[in-house]
Point group: C2
Chain length 349, copies 2
Amino acid sequence: MKNGPRQRATIIDVAERAGVSKSTVARVLAGSASISDEARDRVLKAVAATGYERNHLAVGMRSGRSGLLGLVIPDITNPFWAEVARGAQDRAAKDDISLLVFSSDWDAGKEATHLRALRRARVDGAIINPVADNFDDLDRFGLPFVFIGSSAERFPDTLSVGSDIAQAVRLGMDILVERGHPAPALMLGPRSRLARARFLRAVHEHCVARDIDPEILPVEESDYTVEGGRKAMGRLLAGPWRGSRAVFVANDLMALGAMIAVREAGLRCPEDISILGFDGIPAGAFSWPGLTTIEKPGRQIGIRAVECLLDQIAGRPEQGRIFLPCRLVERGSLADVSAAAPARAAAGR
Amino acid sequence: MKNGPRQRATIIDVAERAGVSKSTVARVLAGSASISDEARDRVLKAVAATGYERNHLAVGMRSGRSGLLGLVIPDITNPFWAEVARGAQDRAAKDDISLLVFSSDWDAGKEATHLRALRRARVDGAIINPVADNFDDLDRFGLPFVFIGSSAERFPDTLSVGSDIAQAVRLGMDILVERGHPAPALMLGPRSRLARARFLRAVHEHCVARDIDPEILPVEESDYTVEGGRKAMGRLLAGPWRGSRAVFVANDLMALGAMIAVREAGLRCPEDISILGFDGIPAGAFSWPGLTTIEKPGRQIGIRAVECLLDQIAGRPEQGRIFLPCRLVERGSLADVSAAAPARAAAGR
DNA sequence: AAAGTTCATGGTAACGTTCCCACGAGCTTA
DNA sequence: TAAGCTCGTGGGAACGTTACCATGAACTTT
């Protein structure tokens, strides 16, 4: 026998039970100062007795604050975006705010639909990974918002939170140098992707700083898929390749594909070919060897995006573009062929 | 220069512009029948001109329907639950319903907090993977809800949607038999998990049907982690093991760990040891060899859960427990050692 | 032709809050 | 002691909808 959804207590029920007016109850609940101890006490008791819970719909209607935020990401099923969602969710929960989550599938039409849904739900603001390449829908959005992800680059004058690709590339190049791979091959994504240019620029800067001619680095490109990485690796292996054999891959899925190609060529990773990925997807932990990679701070991005959005909603000073640092995750796909390696290994044991 | 969030148009603005009463506007928007074509036309034009969008907060307040559903899952970062969320999201969007997503981290306290948040947001109902093992919070929830996942088993008298473990096990045992592994080893999860008993029962039923003594199957157990699977596989390899060497693993992470253990023992998968997983996590596609596994219908579960919930909210007849079928995903970790194998391979080429 | 029915519409009262103004009691200030 | 101030409180008026009842016109039935 279930307890049917019996009539919910309203603020008036609480007021009557406590013998005060609804104004007083509202003040107690809002934590307002001018309340006698006695009144507060009676209200609190009445709240407990009636099981009263504030109706957020009514609150939102009257105050204009729904206590809802929107999150529009390409696909919640993608582990990176799931991390972002999780971070946003946790941060929002701290302020008693709930998140409406939508997946756009990189489709501008779906994006527009979702933005409309958010407006109707009267969210207080939204965190968006923009897919539309013009600003029309977003301009029309008419609500506070923060962009996330690298596609936000298209809109330079907008608040955004993303990962620091330049720092990530530096991190990767540094570890490669340290392990004796001063001139790794590069495996890039498609030219259409914005992140590609940033990646390449950071590599060049690193090379210039270290007095390496960027032109000597073998370069291949493909799409951000396992199959793309497999094929690109095949091409790299078929071509001329001097120096230590290491590849810095701009995407973990591609890196995983590259690893498969290495095995298919009868070579071993990392003994024959070292691979460094970029993303930090969980699947990298389960390959053999585990994929050494640079992890994007997905959760942090979610957290900061919410904070940034709340600041904006509250009218607090805004921070412009925020780039969060990435982290190296070592798992075994990077061989150490530096001069220091044997000594280091000996000292380690 | 941004278009500030200028005053939103209300139903009254639309009514004035169309020269009708707000009742008429409301009727047009609700798709009510008794409307003259002329009035409908003018209202629609006025809606377009003002950019009017229904305020869901106000609608919810008046009608008692917020157009919001809650989804409480253990962790949106877990690929299975992300699939469920995605299915639910897509299905809900079709009915213009938005989803509030929460992660409970298998923590009863967090679960209770989230349920409270859902109640305050006045969601119309909730989809819950229950972690609390008593019904108190849920009983108190006082709203329509549907359980999902195997932990729903604890509450037999409740609407729920999950995967059909018995069917999945049958599928797995059948393919194992077909490939010449009539008596595989079993690798199970911890005794505390409900799914374990169901898994084991289904295996036994299969054995009885095929006249195999279930007792001859080697059995190991561990937790649902890569490391757990690695260790359990180590124990299996160390023990006595007759017959064809195949393992039916009750969880993909464990299966991936088992695969690592096989490699560490200097053996090959699938040539020396065949592995069949259960879950369908994406990482299984990137291991080497790819993990052949039985995929749970995560997205379908999300979809059906929403449908089931909407039915319940609308007072339509409810369906009790729903178990959705799983699917075999072949990727290469299962060798064919049956008598038919050579012929079959020859015919295939 | 009177009475009933349907249709298209308008007016108004909720829904549960918060916000604002008013008011009396007790206090401080001149 | 009169005027002003603060404190604690109560009483409405919104907020934007939908639900319900009322109304008059056109039509159908007896």
